[in-house]
Amino acid sequence: MKFVRVNMTGGTVDVDGVPQDYAGLGGRGLTSALINAEVPPTCDPLGPENKLVFAPGFMSGTPLPNTSRISLGAKSPLTGGIKESNVGGTVATALGRLGITAIIVEGQAPQGSLYFLRIDETGNVSLIPAQEYEGKRTYELVDKLLEVYGQKTSVLCIGPAGEHRLALASVQSSDADGRPCRAAGRGGLGAVMGAKGLKALIVDQRGRSADPIADPEAFREAVKAVVKMVQADHMSAEVMPKLGTAALVAPVNAMGAFPCYNARQGTLDGWERISGEAMAEMIQERGGNPTHMGCSQCMIHCSNEFVDVDGRFVTGSLEYETIWAMGGMTGIVDLDTIARLDRLCDDIGVDTMSTGVGIAVAMDAGYKEFGDAAAALEMVEELAQGTEFGRLLGSGPDAVGKHFGHDRVPTVKGQSIAAYDPRAMLGHGVTYATSPMGADHTAGNLVGAYLTHMLDPLNPEGQVATSAFLQVAMAAYDTMGQCFMANVALLSPESFAVMSKLIEAKSGAQLEADEFPHALGRRVLKAEREFNRKAGFTEEDDRLPRFFYSEPLPPHNTVFSIADEELDGVFDF
C-alpha cells in the first residue's frame, strides 16, 4: 500500500504509506476523496494547485477478473467540477502488482518542459525528460515506448490535444496488445496531464509486490462465486463477446431513444448500417476480430479489432457511444468513417463522445451538413493542428454552441450526454442532470431496467429511485476497479454479498452489513457533491438544457418531464 507523490514543479518523487483516511479505498472512491480533501475547489484546473490522481481499483492486481480499471481524478477543465474518469487496459493491474494504491501528480513543470513518469518492475519511480516526444500522437508514442521499455509495459499517455490543454483531451491507455485505443475520455483530464507537463505514465507489468490478501482462501471462494455469476449473465456471456457494446444500437433505436442529428430525432435513418450486427459481420468478413480481450484479467471480451477492406487494423474496440456520437449525432451512417474518426480521436487524444457532439452542434448550427464525412474528419484533424476551429471544438460543445449562437447543445455541466435521449428514457435524464460528473452514461444507466420491464422509460414513476440506486452502486463498483460489463452482471443483493466477502477477505476488516455498495457509494457521491458545491455549483446546475423540456422528440414526441424538486431529492440520503 503506497502513495506515490510527484511534484512536477520541483521534479521530486516521494513514496509513502497510505494515510488511514484512505484505507479500504481505491479507484473513484480514492480519487474523489483525495481531490475533495486536497484540491482548492475554486482553483484553475490547468494551474499548479490542481492535482491529477491515478488510482487503480481496490481489487486491481488481485485474481478477481475484470478488475482492470484505473480511475483518474482531478478538477475538470470541462465541467469546472470534480471529475473521475476510468479506463481499462493493463495499467491498473500493473500498478496493483506493484502495491501502488495511488499516484498523485502535483504542481506544474516549468513552461515548455515535458516528462515521462516511469515505474520499473521493482517499484522505482523516476521522472524522465521527454522533450523530444513533444507533439507526438499516441500510437507512434506508445510504439516507441514499448520499443524502449519492452513489450511488458503499460502506458497512459496524452496526444497533441492534451499538450494543447484542450478541455476535450483524453488520457489514452494501452490495451492488452499495447495499442493506446482505450480512453479515459471524459472531462478533459488529458488537458490536466498536459498542463502538469506529463506526457506519459509508463509502468512495468512484471511487479511482484502486490498487497497481500488477508484471507486468500476466502478470497478464492468468493472469486469463484463472481465468475459463476458473470458466466450466468446473458449480456456478459453471450452478447458482449459477439457484438460488444454496439449491440445497443438496435434496441435503443427501436425504442426511439437514439439521439441523432444533434438530438432532433430518436431514430436514425439507415441505422442498420452502423448497428452492432452490421459491425460484427463486417469485421468477420474482413478477417478482423469481433471478440477481443481489451484489458488484462478480462473474462468477457467485449472489445473488437476493426479492420479496413484490406484487413488492416484501423481501431480497437469500436464502441456504442462512439458509433452514436460520430455516426448517430452527425448523421454519418458509415462504419468505415466512424472507425477512422475513432482512430483519429484516440491518436490525437480526445473524447470521442464530446467531440462527436461538438461536431453535431456545429452541423446543426449550419456550419456543415449532417452526414458530411469529409467535414467531420477535417474537423477532428484540426484538433491536432490547433487551428482556431480546432481550439473551438476542443473547448467542448458549449463553446461551439456559443460561437455559432446556437442553443441546442446537449450537455450538462458542460459535458455531452451519451447515446440515450432523456426525453425517451427519462431515467437517463435524471442521471445526466444529477451526476456530479456532468452528463454520463456509466454513472447510472437504466437501459437494462427498461429492456427487462422493471420500468417504463416514458413514465416518470420510479426513475429517480432507480437512477439513485444505480448511481450509488456504480460509485461503489468504480471504487473496486471492476469494468462496467462485469458491474451490470453484479447488481443483485447476492452479488453485493459476495463483493463484501471479497473486500473483507482482501483487507481483513469486518464490513458493516450496509457498507457495499450503499454506504460506500453514498460516501463517494457525498464527497463529489461537496467539492462541486464549494466550486460554486448550485441546484440550477443539476438540470438538463432547456430544449429537452420544450422540444418533443420524435417518434414518441415526449419531453423530459421529471420535476426539478424530484431531481433535487436524488441524493437525499
Binding site: A246, A247, N445, G448, V488
Partner: protein, 79 residues
C-alpha cells in the same frame, strides 16, 4: 395470422439463412401473445428475449397485432 419478425443480436445465428432485410414470417394463432411467439421461435433462454414493436418494449402477455412487425432482441444492461 402472419407476423413479420426481425431478429437482432445473436438470435440471428440460431436461424440459418436468416436475411436481415426480410426478417421471417411466423404464423401465430389469432390473439397470440408475445410469450406464445417466443415459444414458437424456440429460443432456449426466453427470459433474455426483448420484443419491441412501435417503439415500445412489449410485455409477455401483450397480444400480437396483425400487420405490425416485431423486433426480437436481447437484454443488455448498458455499455
Amino acid at each position: 395470422m402472419k407476423v413479420t419478425v426481425r431478429l437482432y443480436g445473436t438470435w440471428r445465428q440460431r436461424f440459418p439463412g436468416y436475411e436481415p432485410s426480410e426478417g421471417i414470417e411466423v404464423e401465430v394463432p389469432e390473439g397470440a401473445t408475445v410469450r406464445d411467439l417466443v415459444t414458437l421461435l424456440e429460443i432456449p433462454e426466453p427470459r433474455q428475449v426483448v420484443v419491441i414493436a412501435g417503439g415500445r418494449v412489449l410485455k409477455a402477455e401483450d397480444k400480437m397485432q396483425r400487420q405490425v412487425p416485431v423486433d426480437v432482441m436481447q437484454t443488455i444492461g448498458g455499455g
